[in-house]
């Protein structure tokens, strides 16, 4: 059965101080992004080794300063966070298959729930950006396509869970599917490095960004990762408490 070691949750003081830290970090990210960081000219794309301006509504944007670029400081940290937490959930799926402890399945499931939240946030913030800059709600572009597939995979993870009745079988199937589905994470991550796209420039390759732009981005990234970890911990407590109530109920009845 469940051993006490793996049921352990992080202490309250750590979870709540990280919650506070992520709030402060994201607030500073917000202030810096909007009031300090300079406007960024539109992206350049590398096609056959030559820098080419990305197009928005047929207009070259590499020499225009775009205010809408501010969403970069939120959209990208959330997206990276979703990749990280999916990977985290995948590791717990592997641990479940190796050790057969139900707790790892719970952890993987909660991780996938947080992934779903972050994926939805990424799609929404990305869509706002898309709509504003290109006047289209959706564009079939490599990163968007692979990320949308990621969203579908996370949704089907929960559809699969809902369709299996036996608890142990459900956990095993979900773990296997979680591992197979994770393959899309590296694909989605490297796709902009393989297929040049004006929509998702590789920031570090196209000349990098200034320190005052990098700072809010990194603060946002750390803040977002802390926040998703706090979400995960809080959900995990709820889940463990619920499971204990179930055990107590059956003990009382039996």
């Amino acid at each position: 059965m469940t051993d006490k070691q793996s049921m352990r949750v992080s202490p309250n003081w750590l979870v709540f101080s990280l919650l506070g830290a992520s709030a402060v970090l994201l607030l500073v990210d917000f202030v810096l992004a909007f009031f300090v960081a300079p406007l960024q000219p539109g992206a350049q794309v590398y096609m056959n080794g030559q820098p080419v301006s990305a197009l928005i509504n047929g207009v070259a944007i590499s020499n225009q300063l775009l205010f809408s670029q501010k969403i970069f400081y939120f959209h990208v940290p959330i997206a990276i966070g979703s990749f990280l937490i999916f990977t985290f959930a995948m590791v717990y799926s592997v641990l479940f298959l190796l050790r057969r402890d139900k707790v790892y399945d719970t952890r993987a499931r909660i991780g996938m729930e947080v992934t779903l939240v972050l994926v939805l946030l990424t799609l929404i913030t990305g869509d706002l950006w898309t709509r504003h800059d290109w006047g289209a709600w959706w564009v079939w572009e490599p990163r968007l396509t692979t990320y949308f597939i990621l969203f579908l995979l996370v949704v089907s993870y929960f559809v699969l869970r809902g369709a299996v009745e036996d608890e142990e079988r459900k956990a095993t199937y979900a773990a296997v599917f979680g591992i197979v589905a994770w393959v899309d994470v590296p694909i989605s991550f490297v796709i902009t490095r393989l297929v040049p796209s004006g929509v998702h420039p590789v920031v570090l390759r196209s000349g990098g960004i200034e320190f005052i732009q990098l700072l809010p981005f990194l603060l946002g990234l750390v803040g977002m990762v802390c926040f998703s970890w706090v979400l995960y911990q809080l959900r995990l407590r709820e889940e463990f408490a619920r499971e204990r109530v179930e055990v107590l109920k059956t003990e009382l009845e039996g």
Partner: protein, 241 residues
């Protein structure tokens, strides 16, 4: 007693593999159930494609989208076949009987996947002339036709391999075929994209000509390699759950 068990020669993996594969082929040859149902389904798909194409203007060149249409037909037809191939195993208790016998789980996966590969491959080969007749309607294929073989081969290997893993899961769920479709289509997406890109480069090369062909084939090969390795090693967990 213990000595007797350990001294007994182990049945070789090849014999285990060929026994299961032979069973699948014999069962199929008795009823032709998978091939007829998949064949009819793909024929119906082509008829429905006609509805869409019939509304297009005269200048519309169907070759530009025909690779996508072809793989769409393949993917949905193989969903049907994959589901069939495991529903019988489950409903008649064959899978349980196989698991009771001393057969290595990875061998079971290989045999089922190869069986599915053969059946899906046969249906694909049968449907290609029909596709040429009904959809391309005699319009010539621009590139050399034999270049269609690698994308077909790599695509079908991936479909059969990953499909066998997912179908073994979905057959134990409440919504069976729906669950299989929900899992299968997004997982197969990268492979499908590569297969369509390569097929399209042969049927109707764009401005870049055969440029996208080799990268797409490389993506398909890497995808197949990773996914088959994953499916091969994860099958044991699925089938024993």
């Amino acid at each position: 007693m213990e000595r007797a068990v350990s001294d007994r020669p182990k049945i070789s993996s090849w014999r285990q593999f060929s026994a299961i594969l032979r069973k699948d082929i014999v069962a199929e040859l008795r009823t032709f159930e998978m091939i007829t149902s998949m064949g009819l389904y793909i024929l119906l798909t082509l008829v429905v494609y006609y509805l869409a194409i019939s509304q297009a203007s005269g200048e519309f060149d169907v070759r530009e989208i025909s690779a996508g249409l072809l793989w769409l037909a393949f993917i949905f037809t193989s969903l049907l076949g994959l589901n069939r191939s495991l529903v019988h195993e489950k409903d008649q208790g064959v899978l349980e009987a196989i698991l009771l016998s001393p057969i290595d789980r990875p061998v079971l996966f290989a045999a089922k996947a190869v069986g599915n590969f053969i059946f899906i491959g046969i249906v694909e080969l049968l449907s290609l002339p029909l596709f040429y007749l009904f959809i391309l309607q005699g319009k010539p294929i621009e590139g050399p036709w034999y270049l269609l073989i690698p994308p077909l081969l790599l695509g079908t290997i991936g479909i059969a391999g990953v499909g066998t893993l997912l179908a073994t899961m979905s057959v134990n769920t409440k919504g069976r075929d729906v669950i299989l479709a929900v899992m299968f289509v997004p997982i197969m997406f990268p492979l499908l994209y590569a297969a369509v890109a390569a097929t399209s480069a042969v049927i109707a090369p764009g401005p870049e000509g055969m440029g996208p062909y080799l990268p797409a084939m490389a993506i398909a090969a890497v995808y197949d390699g990773i996914m088959l390795l994953g499916a091969y090693s994860l099958y044991e967990f699925i089938v024993c759950a």
